[in-house]
Symmetry: C3
Subunit: 208 residues, 3 copies
């Protein structure tokens, strides 16, 4: 399980660094800005999870994650800049990263004896905080708050599935794969069929 988590983690870091760059690039940032936003997107969720659990921050105790994030952002920056990419292109890898991070986060929180609801929330946090950081750093209302195509809720469903299946005695690995499938399926179906959650009716009162 550890070993699986490790490689899946590296993959998730690379994938969401990619999405961070694709998104940050739209803000006319320079190389360093894009790299920093890309790294924040890739490492932010797990960092917040580790700090909340008071366990060593994963990319500080193992430099590999940081190297993967930096390399991905720099390479992607020089490969895709100038290209006119369809804005929705990065939504598929983004959904994959969401699924991977959510399940890893929940799994790690469970191993650190977090109560079930906290473990699920930490999974969601691991999955979505990177994107929230990216949007806040780009000075936007985080997309997951406004665009209702089951993002955090897809992550929550997957995390709760993982917790539930393990409680039912399923092996951690099997529960993890099923959980990932739930997140991915919920997110992709929601995007495909524009499934959204109820939104708050009131219009914005403030002047912005």
């Amino acid at each position: 399980m550890e070993n699986l988590l490790y490689w899946v983690g590296l993959a998730a870091v690379a994938v969401s660094a990619l999405t961070g760059v694709l998104d940050a690039g739209r803000k006319q940032m320079d190389l360093v800005g894009v790299v920093m936003v890309g790294c924040a997107t890739a490492l932010g969720g797990g960092t917040v999870r580790d700090i909340l659990l008071d366990r060593p921050v994963f990319w500080i105790s193992d430099q590999t994650y940081l190297i993967v994030a930096l390399a991905t952002t720099v390479v992607v920056f020089f490969v895709v800049r100038g290209l006119r990419l369809p804005p929705r292109l990065f939504l598929i890898p983004d959904a994959v990263g969401l699924a991977l991070f959510t399940i890893i986060g929940t799994q790690i929180a469970l191993e650190w004896q977090a109560p079930w609801l906290v473990a699920s929330l930490l999974g969601v946090i691991t999955g979505v905080v990177g994107g929230v950081l990216r949007d806040v750093l780009c000075n936007e209302v985080p997309l997951i708050f406004v665009r209702g195509e089951l993002y955090a809720s897809a992550a929550g469903a997957g995390a709760l599935t993982l917790v539930g299946l393990q409680a039912l005695g399923l092996s951690a690995v099997l529960a993890a794969w099923i959980g990932m499938a739930v997140v991915l399926a919920a997110r992709l179906l929601a995007m495909a069929f524009r499934i959204t959650l109820p939104t708050y009716a009131e219009r914005d009162g403030r002047d912005d």
Copy 2:
């Protein structure tokens, strides 16, 4: 004292989750967005305090806080959405939450042997960070920075009162109640009589 802090804490969490929802709703967020902003508002201040003090994060070691925050946001979301609520309605509960959190934060910091000034600041942080997070997540300049009706300063006055009274040998409980009264009185009077602090004269140079 512990017991008092506990129940007061749960009350403060519920109250500021309520204010988070009322405020976040104005941003046309969906259910998950509102829930996340509500939870960030309710749990953010205490979380930052615990991380700064390097003590276990309160809602991770005790799931009750998280359940209260989640339940409050979901219930409030479905109860008040659609209703046309006066925007200033949530200012009274908000002031109560500010007073409760500030005193709890200062008290906890003192128990963790933080120096007096640090303890007071951690109290203010516990009181105001939730709202700052809420505003940053809603992509606004945090209200407490621009609207000068004694917000952080009311919290600071209450925190310093608590620290001072305990230094004078008053019982923790009595000092806590007096401190809360100071925060609440200062904030409510400031709102009633539009008491503001001096603001910086220079106009904004940047284009926003």
Copy 3:
């Protein structure tokens, strides 16, 4: 070395509190807002570094830093408000603060056995996070991401220089001074000659 780090640290805190106030003042904030943004600018980088390294937060274990930050912000607030200061005035002290914080951060991370790349990044974080926090709290895209006059990259160059020189066996103190010189020189030359990094070509797709 410890002693040098200590005084250099206090100087860096005062300098960046000053820059925080000069910048925050342009947002029409009141006294408390300016003080809080000033303190976040002065203490934010080191705080994030300490939390990431899981070492005691510097201004909590030693109140002096907090007192220096608070005193500087309050004094600067009353001294410069109303004055019409050239907006680029604070760029020189800002560059000095960047150099000081970056080297201190890298040095501390190395002493805490962080791997070389992590230590350099933590140095950059110590140097730039304060300014990022300031900009996010002022609801702006962090300047270091958009304005490409070698800011984080100057910090990175200095941090890597420090790490490299120490690896080559140079004394920590000497390596520190050389590292600071590198940061300062890179930043000042970049400002003087408008040296910028390549930016991402794509225009912003979102409506903001």
